[in-house]
């Protein structure tokens, strides 16, 4: 009898084994270690901060070497063009992904209401996010060539986004920036997470136009004609009612704070590994020696850029250089936790206008624009670094205008871009690749095939995780190889 009872009991347990599919565990698996949903203001702020503070060789120092602002001593592999896969993770994650989410969040009808509006009018949040996306995506495509963009950020719906041709990326970005500029309303509340302009929408709108000038001019080899796509976009932006950046006070600069995560990205790098190159110091001092430019006049901006306004840099491209006593990037104005860094300047805008004028894209006066570009560069360095060099600007500009008479206006404009873009080395690298000005000599002790890099190798995960699309993208390069010397679309001459 007893035996049977046990048997029945066992049967009940056994049967219960298969019977129920789920157990209710309540909230035991909730993740209490952080936010479970996004906050658009915080996502926007992080997108800007992350982009402004990413650091290291790939994200910060390499282009300063490729355009020979700086040189390396002791540890010289980047200067010598070591050709390894280069990650782009920090552009996509934490910056672009955030901005994409800010846009989607603001577009979602479920999120509309006072809570959202308190973080800025949705159209302004979307506009700012779109302009920032264009800034970051431009750097990505300038670095690598074809990039995943139109199919990006689709999450589970597309885990292997195809690459877009650089031409398509550029055209898309220009149209996105125009759309953003036009949808924003300076009369409505700006985004609270805007740590670049503190919600000032008018500034975003003139920034948008300066950005279009830059992007369209970058395509000058592909669309050289004054009636072509690039010139048309250039002119439309230049004549847009929101204006372009002409005033130093309207420039977007990254602001930093002396706390972990918010510091100027230069500070995280090892300063003794980097010196100004003698090519750069010779150019600014007007010396002949290694000067890759036509300048023969002392340029006071060396006092801002350099630790010293007089000392020489280290010759570029040798594995055994020594930095003892040589000039370095200023520890007050650059290699400093709180020094601001430019995103776009009036100077660059004027110099782009000068070049467009010289290319006959516009009817502006190239000489005047060159002069304004130089003066705005001096002025903004004064403004942001508290140096007193602005008074030297006119004399220097006069000398350069005179140089233009002998060397050629276009070359001087491009040389002046090289000098004024010191704080925007990725832009300087793009300009150099487009124009081949100034005439830089590749490193003597090179590690790659012996040429100045014209792009970065794709991140190593792309060939394994997204192989078909990666292979297609590489086929669009010339030659069709994933190396740091292949040419990307706007750098291709055919």
């Amino acid at each position: 009898m007893k035996k049977i009872n046990y048997f029945i009991l066992s049967l009940i347990v056994l049967l219960s084994l298969g019977s129920c599919d789920n157990v209710d565990f309540g909230d035991i698996n909730d993740n209490t270690n952080g936010a479970t949903e996004g906050n658009p203001s915080s996502l926007l702020a992080n997108a800007i901060m992350n982009y402004g503070t990413i650091t290291g060789r790939i994200y910060l120092t390499q282009p300063t070497l490729y355009v020979q602002y700086q040189t390396q001593v002791t540890y010289t592999t980047e200067m010598r063009y070591s050709d390894s896969p280069m990650t782009w993770s920090s552009y996509y994650l934490g910056s672009l992904s955030n901005l994409n989410e800010v846009i989607n969040y603001n577009l979602d009808p479920d999120n509309q209401g006072s809570t959202l509006n308190a973080q800025g009018a949705p159209e302004n949040q979307i506009g700012v996010a779109k302009i920032m996306m264009a800034v970051i995506a431009k750097r990505l495509t300038d670095n690598y060539g074809p990039i995943p963009y139109s199919q990006a950020f689709q999450g589970v719906d597309n885990l292997t986004p195809a690459y877009d041709k650089q031409e398509d990326v550029y055209k898309n970005l220009i149209s996105q920036v125009k759309e953003a500029r036009d949808m924003m309303d300076a009369g409505s509340k700006g985004p609270t997470g805007d740590i670049l302009f503190n919600g000032n929408i008018s500034k975003w709108q003139s920034f948008a136009n300066s950005l279009i000038l830059q992007m369209s001019l970058q395509l000058s080899n592909k669309y050289p004609s004054a009636s072509g796509y690039a010139a048309t976009e250039f002119n439309a932006a230049l004549s847009d009612a929101h204006g372009v950046i002409e005033d130093v006070a309207n420039e977007p600069w990254f602001q930093f704070q002396d706390l972990e995560g918010f510091r100027n990205p230069w500070l995280a790098n090892r300063r003794p590994d980097y010196y100004l190159s003698q090519e750069f110091t010779d150019a600014l001092k007007g010396n002949e020696d290694l000067n890759p430019t036509s300048n023969s006049t002392y340029d006071s901006r060396l006092k801002v850029y350099g630790k010293s306004g007089t000392a020489d840099g280290v010759p570029y491209g040798y594995s055994d250089g020594s930095g003892a006593g040589k000039n370095q990037m200023s520890a007050t104005n650059y290699w400093n936790g709180t020094s601001p860094l430019p995103v776009m300047t009036a100077s660059y805008t004027y110099l782009n206008r000068a070049e467009a004028a010289e290319l006959k894209w516009t009817s502006e006066d190239a000489t005047e624009m060159l002069r304004m570009g130089i003066e705005a560069s001096y002025e903004t360095l004064d403004f942001h670094h508290g140096t007193a060099i602005a008074e030297d600007a006119t004399a220097y500009a006069d000398a350069r205008v005179a140089d233009a008479g002998t060397i050629g206006m276009l070359q001087v404009i491009r040389e002046e871009k090289w000098v004024s873009l010191f704080g925007q080395a990725f832009d300087a690298w793009s300009e150099w690749r487009r124009t081949d000005v100034p005439s830089l000599v590749p490193a003597t002790d090179y590690l790659n095939s012996g040429e100045i890099p014209t792009r970065l190798r794709y991140p190593s995960e792309e060939s394994s995780l997204n192989n078909a699309n990666y292979t297609e993208a590489v086929s669009w390069l010339i030659p069709a190889e994933d190396t740091n010397t292949s040419l990307i679309w706007w750098d291709q001459t055919n």
């Binding site: 066992s10 698996n29 901060m49 992350n50 994650l93 972990e260 190593s460 394994s464 997204n466």
Partner: protein, 1084 residues
Amino acid sequence: MKTKFSKILTLLLVFVVQLTFAQQKSVTGTVTDESGLPLPGVNIMVKGTSNGVQSDFDGIYTINASEGDVLVFSFVGLEKTQITVGSSNTMDVTMKADAAQLDEVVVTALGMKREAKTLTYATQEVKAEELNVTQDSNVKTALAGKVAGVQINAQSGSKLGQAGKIRIRGAISLTSDNDALYVVDGIPGIDPNSIDMESVASINVLKGPNATALYGQRADSGVVVITTKKGSGNMSVELNSSMVFDKVAYLPNYQNKYGGGYEGDASFGVFGDESTGSLALSDYPDMWQQFAGKRYILWDNNYADESWGPRIDGEEYIPWYAFWPESPYFGQTTAYEAHPDNIKDYYNTGVTLKNSIAISGGGDKFNARVSFTNLNQEGIQPYTDLERNFFNANMEFNASEKLTLTTNINYSISKINGIFDDSYGNQASGSFNSWFNRNLDINKLRELKNLSTPDGYMTSWNWWGPDYYAAYGGEFKKPAFWFNPYSLFDRYEQNSETKTLIGSLTATYKFNDNWEASATTSRNQENYGVDYKVPNSVAFSAAPSLYNAWSNSFGVRKSETFENNFSALLKYENNFGDFDVSAFVGGNIRKNSYDRFSAEMATDAKSGGLIIPDLYDFANAGEVPTPETYRYEKQVNSAYARASFGYKNFLYLDGTYRKDWSSALPSDKNGYGYPSIGTSFIFSNLIDSNVLSFGKLRGGWAQVGSDVGAQLINPIYPIGSKPFQGSTVLQSTPTTIVDPNLKPALNTSFEVGLDLKFFNNRLGLSTTYYDETRKDEIISISVPRGSGSAFFLTNAGESERKGVEVTLDGDIFKNPEGFSWNAIVNFARNRTTVNSLPGDLQATAAPGGTSAFSAVTMIHELGNKWGQLRGTGLTRDANGTPIIQENGLYATTPNQYLGSVLPDFTGGFFNTFSYKDISLTASIDFQKGGNFFSLSEYYGQYSGLLEETAAINDRGSNVRDAVEDGGGVHVTGVTADGAPVDRYVDAHSYFAQGSGNNIAELFVHDASYVKLRELSLSYRIPTSLVNDAFKSLTLSAVARNVWLISVSDDNTHNWDPSELGYTYGEEGQLPGTRSYGLNLKLTF
């Protein structure tokens, strides 16, 4: 708590009282086996009492009993024998082999004790005497080479408290390369470091799903079932004392021809002679005027932490320690000489003292064993030590005929002091193998660790040198990259403490011969805490705007881990004629929780250190760290059942079913079940043979389901550690996308095997073949960042492992009076392949991560072996010839697959030789295949530290000589256009290209090895010599890591592939050691 304690005390008291009473007369005799050989260690009990003894080494026993008492003789593998005490005081007994011969009982899944012969899967048990050969302090290395299919991936012994991990049957999971599940006396999830080897009675390794199905998902890397020693018989006290010395034994081959510097002989200048590159004498401070005309290291060469400096010539020069007025060598030059053993001599001789006491005994009602072990280890790394205390108690109380209560309590405290960073850039081995000067006299560093500069900075071998000091001052008066390691480690404090409490209580109620119910509750708790302090004396000597940033800082981190299990089981056993039935049903509720709290100041912050120096209070922090918390909970409910049927003791059929419900899975589908079935056929029962004493064929099929880690399906939007400008919180999107249709993974395994015993069990052979497939594993696959995330958590892919395991054991000679040799040989071949990946993925990240500078990354490649090393390789033409660039360096191609880390086969050879009272144990283990990457070579070449950077080339010149003078490295290959290249390349350019172009291929080597791991020579002192004052006394000499007998030819620096710090290889790790010691074991 107090009442609980007093109950235990009462229990103990009762137990002691039991031991003390009941004596009448003394019965003595000899126990022998059927062949007449004496049997030591036989348990002899007076039936119905707790009175028991063991026979001694000569088989002799003495017990107090009265006439009419029944003596019960028991011994594993022999038939229990009962004899009634008569009038005689002498009773010799012959014990017969057990009829079944192999009623060896092993502990299987869920702590079930089963006769080995009935098992339908492979299991391999290792006994205490085979495990604790050399008084090793951890379970993992003790298993090396002793179980087929177990690969040890130990850590260098210099990393105190780190035991590495083991791999059972290679690996199969795409996402984890986890250590096995450790189960101690039925309590799962134990940190094996908390186990006292002295208390381990045996270890049984359950390898695949067929053996582990009842443990479920947690067992998907295999299970190590540890059984601790229990009390029995008369009270006995065991004392064990050992002392082991560790000495550095395995270092790469360094060059000793060139010293520190960048520029060869031009690194030297003449002090004050401007024509040699020196400053003018007047530019130097007064204290150095006396150096005029002396040889010294110029400018940058002085801060060089590389060895591309001058040829070592024995002539005088000014060493680093002669520059400082407080130095006893101030102003004195010394000979520029080689110090070939400087690295070896940096390390101390490690000393481990281990003392333990165990008291055990028992009777019908109670048995207990209580032990305490203290272990003290001083590390080879200066200023490091480890102290461990283990307390262990096992008690069993037969409360009535039907009710038995068992309890285990295990408490351990482990304290580790000092720094053992084992990764790139660490200040000891990392510096020595990557960034160092070969000409340094390490004894001077040791002697002068407190030497400071006139400004009060710590002095170092690696400083900016007199030229930077004099010309620029400021931070150039400080050390450059590296402190004197003795100065740093003496000052930098790091202390960690781990407390582990494991406890269980089991009640078993036997209703009758057929039915038994039991319930167990167990708790496993670990509290870990670590704190560190960087004192101001270090921060003061740091140069944050140059290379060496250190901050006066401190931090604390604490974590608490719990696991509670509640389980119940109902068992049924019966015979129906020729049929045996045994079955059970049961259930388990497991709750895990983890809670961590930390507040840590960065030790390398360039600002924001402590305001008042050395006041370690967060309120005193210039930049107050944000405290961080992290916690999770997880619960898994399980129900399971097993039924086994036996027919005539030769045919067995087993079936199990388990169902789990996991809180970590999506709430709409969190239950999943999986069965197993197996059979064994003892064919030897049907054969009458003098040769074959036992033969079994077994086979089985099993499945195991797996869930996912707690909270993984609920990723968060991480926020920044502080608000920007005090008001703006930064937040980013989650880096993981979760598949909405996630379901549990399923492993399916098929296993067959054959177990044979020959010649009266003197020779045994066990073979197993397995084929296991893991499908739909929940893995976080890397996805292109363009997706907006880094990872996608999904069911993905299929991996498969197949292999063969063979164990052969034999009593090659067996003569207890003379020479015996027992040998066990293990061999296992495993191949794990990645058969499918989701979508179009050709590869996905493998566990084990990425080396420093991403030189190699662990990747699974579709269709290839598990766990490939991937990194930059040489570009080769169609014939495989390297393509050489115009400058003589290799053309490179990134993302090359450079081979799997898993070996092709592993094995061991365990030998016990004995002659009378002397025995010698030797344990050899080996592996063939597998690959590893060496970062020490990557940088050791770059920095000119390794032998090859100063070797003689095939033209008879040193490679460092100028190419035009016959030097240079011989390079052959082809140009990109296919033209042959045969030339010599400047040594510095050649050896710098590895790290310069991040070429991994040059530093990936075959991980094959043969190693004599353990050696022990014991002498069991005959008790007659000590007038029977003791039951036994054994003295042993032990040695560990004795001899790396052989490694692959391409492993020119003799890295020990069984002691690699990372899955992908080594990263400037602490060196391997060889250990010698003595052990004394005393029982009375």
